[in-house]
């Protein structure tokens, strides 16, 4: 046999990415840019030296978590467009704890991280409970919750965490994820320990969904609520739980920014897009834990690398946006790639 199914499953995303990059190259060429230079600049921007590598990983960190958030909900049949808002409240909560207490690190840092997860979970709980009890469509509620989160966080920064300032003070070092060691290893990039949390959470998601009875229930409810009810599962509880866990992942993504990258929270004039990009990351990663990690890596690389394209190769960063979109399309349309494979397979026999 020419290709095994397993191999096709692995090859499809790779081919999609290559097709996406190829299309990007064609566009560059068409508009008079040098695709080789363009991609070289992108590569250098993401991996050119250990500094950029560190920054890329830093960027990947929240993407993993927001991707997990979206993926987890989708696996249970819920579209969580509210990751953005959950990131906001998570960020806010982590910074709040980070600036409000002076505690030993072993308590302070976990507490701040936990606060973020709880805040995100709460923000997911609201659409979850409304869906479970009243059947209100989670898509609308989460969209609305994003705006509420944005405005409330801004207000909290201005009126509660500070006295009318745009930005909170820096968190205490005891609550910080930043690491001298990681930074010095990467020429003072902002790489922080959050990546460990993100990877750990990916493992947690994989374990919970695939190995635990809770995951069994969640997936079952995601596929067929009637059968789940018949089988004695509590459908409402599982819907709420799915949103709560999803929200917690998103809240952690916020903590990565609050405790890692920035160390403070500021008044935001709009969305961060960490949550919205998380939708793309999750879908690129086929809603699996490992897939999300890889997709986040791809996404982070492209985003960070793109920053280097205008200075080094004169290519506008927007082009990368197009490439990302095309990659998503090719992944989404994997049916057609699979079809081509099967044709080959048939003829190859």
């Amino acid at each position: 046999m020419l290709f095994s199914n397993r191999m096709i499953n692995i090859l499809i995303p790779i081919i999609s990415v290559l097709l996406g990059l190829l299309s990007g190259a064609i566009i560059m060429f068409f508009f008079g840019y040098n695709p080789v230079e363009g991609y070289a600049a992108l590569w250098n921007g993401a991996f050119g030296d250990s500094y950029f590598f560190g920054e890329t990983i830093r960027q990947v960190t929240p993407y993993i978590l927001s991707g997990l958030a979206v993926a987890f909900a989708l696996r249970t049949g819920l579209l969580n467009i509210g990751v953005e808002g959950q990131v906001f409240v998570g960020w806010l909560a982590s910074v709040w704890v980070g600036i409000s207490f002076e505690l030993p690190m072993v308590i302070h840092l976990p507490l701040a991280v936990l606060a973020a997860a709880l805040a995100g979970a709460f923000w997911g709980f609201i659409p979850g409970i409304l869906k479970a009890k009243l059947g209100v469509h989670e898509v609308i509620v989460t969209i609305m919750m994003n705006y509420i989160a944005l405005y409330i966080s801004n207000e909290m920064v201005r009126s509660v965490l500070t006295d009318g300032a745009d930005r909170t003070p820096e968190i205490f070092p005891t609550a910080s994820l930043a690491s001298e060691w990681l930074a010095s290893m990467t020429f003072y990039s902002r790489l922080h320990y959050g990546i460990l949390i993100a990877l750990f959470m990916a493992a947690v998601m994989w374990f919970v969904l695939n190995k635990t009875t809770t995951g069994f229930e969640l997936r079952s409810v995601g596929f067929n609520q009637n059968a789940s009810k018949y089988a004695g599962m509590n459908v409402s509880k599982n819907i709420v739980l799915a949103m709560v866990i999803s929200g917690a992942f998103a809240g952690l993504a916020g903590a990565m920014e609050g405790l890692g990258t920035f160390g403070y929270m500021n008044v935001k004039s709009g969305f961060t897009n960490i949550g919205f990009d998380g939708i793309a990351v999750a879908l690129l990663g086929a809603n699996t834990a490992l897939g999300v990690v890889l997709a986040a890596f791809l996404f982070g690389t492209l985003k960070i690398g793109a920053l280097n394209m205008p200075t080094e190769a004169g290519v506008p960063t927007e082009l990368v946006e197009i490439v990302i979109a095309l990659i998503i399309f090719f992944v989404a349309s994997s049916y057609i790639i699979r079809w081509v494979f099967l044709r080959f397979k048939k003829e190859g026999k």
């Binding site: 467009i81 209100v136 898509v139 969209i143 506008p316 998503i328 989404a332």
Partner: protein, 319 residues
């Protein structure tokens, strides 16, 4: 200012906010009624805004005062073509419709900004010189109260939005086309066995959603934003999606939902001037539209039934 005057200023303002959402939501209704989730409404609006503005800037000398109208037509056409990408992916290639919609959002913004850079050599276009203007309807605007409320300072596009909502309602609920469209979204196989071309219906519906999304985006650009940049369409498409679901996939429901959003936003702005809300802290007014929406859903709108086949690619003969 009396309450009647306040209402007179709130209504047209709310409609300005609502009209782009109405158009786009109508597009969403078409698409989702045919069974194709359209989370790419945001991207379709972006495309519409981009094309509308660029066309206007380029051809103002040719079309003069008619330019805004021609521009929205062109934006409709281009966005319809653009929506074809979503159609091909989600109908023919059986892509996950949510994924494909997300890609549409990225793609539209990417293309719009990239081309803006190429053509204008900067991050946003110039401002259009002659956008849509609000007008008073001669005669009707003289009617006491009603005239002030409904016939003064309205944009023609706001009337168009309402008219189109009614038209779409008629199409979807009264015509053979609409019956077929709905059947395709509820039970594509049943439609197929009745000799309806499921793919073709879905293609048409998705392209219509593109046209309407493009209309929404271009109307927004040519009444409110007046130029195109990365900050022109920031979430309106998602609000339109919310209006589709809020309105229970019904054209008039979507109309109502969009107008509801418009009023909620207006109230949050106008509220600070109303005696009732004077002492309410700003933050509450800010979040009020969103909280109200959730409350309305939880309180009395409740469970909405999506078209049954929504999100499922139709594969001939699958079980």
């Amino acid at each position: 200012m009396g309450i009647i005057d306040i209402i007179a200023s709130i209504i047209p303002a709310a409609m300005v906010y609502a009209a782009p959402l109405i158009f786009t939501a109508l597009g969403g209704v078409f698409s989702e009624r045919s069974g194709i989730i359209n989370i790419g409404l945001e991207g379709l609006m972006v495309m519409g805004a981009f094309v509308g503005v660029v066309f206007h800037l380029t051809f103002y000398d040719t079309f003069g005062a008619a330019t805004p109208w021609v521009s929205i037509l062109v934006a409709m056409a281009v966005s319809a073509l653009f929506a074809l990408v979503h159609a091909v992916a989600s109908i023919t290639f059986r892509a996950d419709q949510v994924v494909s919609g997300v890609a549409i959002n990225f793609l539209a913004l990417g293309i719009g900004l990239f081309l803006t850079k190429q053509w204008y050599d900067k991050g946003q276009t110039d401002m259009v010189e002659r956008p849509f203007y609000a007008t008073d309807i001669p005669g009707l605007s003289q009617i006491p109260i009603i005239g002030d409320w409904f016939f003064s300072d309205w944009y023609m596009t706001s009337y168009l939005a309402i008219a189109l909502a009614v038209l779409v309602w008629f199409i979807i609920y009264k015509t053979p086309f609409g019956l077929r469209l709905r059947s395709v979204g509820e039970h594509p196989m049943a439609a197929d066995t009745n000799g309806i071309k499921v793919y073709r219906m879905r293609y048409i519906a998705v392209m219509l959603s593109g046209a309407f999304g493009g209309l929404g985006g271009s109307v927004y650009a040519l009444t409110v934003a007046l130029n195109f940049s990365h900050s022109t369409i920031v979430g309106q498409g998602f609000m339109a999606l919310a209006a589709v679901i809020f309105g229970k996939w019904h054209p008039l429901g979507a109309l109502g939902a969009a107008i509801f959003f418009g009023f909620a936003q207006s109230l949050s702005v106008f509220g600070s001037g109303l005696p009732l809300f004077e002492d309410v802290p700003q933050i509450f007014l800010l979040i009020a539209p969103y909280v109200l929406t959730i409350l309305a859903l939880a309180g009395f709108i409740g469970r909405a039934e999506a078209p049954k086949a929504l999100g499922e690619p139709y594969v001939k003969g699958s079980r």
